[in-house]
Amino acid sequence: MRVIGLLIVIAFGSLLRYGVFFFPEWGDPASPASLHVSPHYIEEATAETAVPNLVTAVLADYRGYDTMFETTVIFAAGLACFMLLRVLQRQVPECRLYRHIPTGITLRIEKGGKLPTESGSFERIDANWVPHDLIIKTTARFITPFLQIFALYVIAHGHHSPGGGFQGGVILGAAIIMFAISYDLRRSIQRIGEQATAVLGSAGVLIYAGTGVLCMVLGADFLNYSALAGLMGVDPVMARSHSMLIVEIGVGVAVSAVMVWIYYNLSSAGRHDEGL
């Protein structure tokens, strides 16, 4: 069986390698891709959309339909994790561990035992993973605001520099995930709940699709942003630039929320109680 598998892999690998010979050279100006629409994008994008970063102009404007469904795919991934993993009935765990904060003593309370009151001198800790590291917690708390500001910068500055909704959204989500790892999952869920992530995830996709529908309502094609010029009070070129920002914000909101949502479900196996 292994030999047959190896033969199939070699056969298809050499087929792919054979196909690569017909590719144009790297950076070849005479390749079909460089002759058809690329010159138009490279020469006209700044004049047509007032966006200096070509990649953003292509991603969010010329190929906006594509990016909308990429965002939808991300949202669908979050939804799939939720559907597959989430355990909705509340299960009481076998035992719970509590740390008495002043003395550092750990209490183990079996199922049915009396749990300590939420007075502040006890904190719940995970049964199999006990991250009690002052350095990690302090560092994470120190870095998080800078990380979030950087994420917002990446989203907002995507017109002028590399970056945009996807990258910024992932960094924003990663900041929250870092908080959840350095403290614990329950504390993170207290701050940004599961419902919030689900609502924000769908809201981001709706912002994107809503911008497109608004263009349709105003009489232009779906996602033809120049139709929004009258609404924004600017000329059609700037309207395209501003609409790209709106769309990028939608992508950023959706991606950051979905990353956190996936992390909640994956790390706790859908129980949202004890996790990584």
């Binding site: 590399p162 990258q167 992932v170 989500g173 990663a174 994956l266 996790g275 990584l276």
Partner: protein, 81 residues
């Protein structure tokens, strides 16, 4: 493009890719996959695709490694079947 740098990074990409699928321990595979993504990110940056490099760094080397580790955390060392 500096071909020596390109060569070193490409070699590292291939080695970490092969190591990620051959290594027995799942956690090591997850970390190796993160290393693979990071090397790919450097390659994109060298080729001038900075946006793609940025995405690879955040999604490939960052969040997906965390997701892999979170999933590996719920596995056991010996399979039950």
């Amino acid at each position: 493009m500096i071909w020596e740098l390109d060569f070193i990074i490409l070699t590292l990409v291939i080695f970490s890719g092969i190591a990620a699928i051959t290594v027995k321990d799942l956690l090591s595979a997850a970390i190796l996959f993160g290393a693979y993504s990071f090397m790919m990110c450097l390659l994109w940056a060298i080729m001038g695709a900075v946006d793609v490099a940025f995405t690879e760094a955040t999604v490939g080397a960052g969040v997906s490694t965390v997701f892999f580790v979170a999933a590996v955390f719920h596995t056991t060392r010996n399979s039950k079947d």
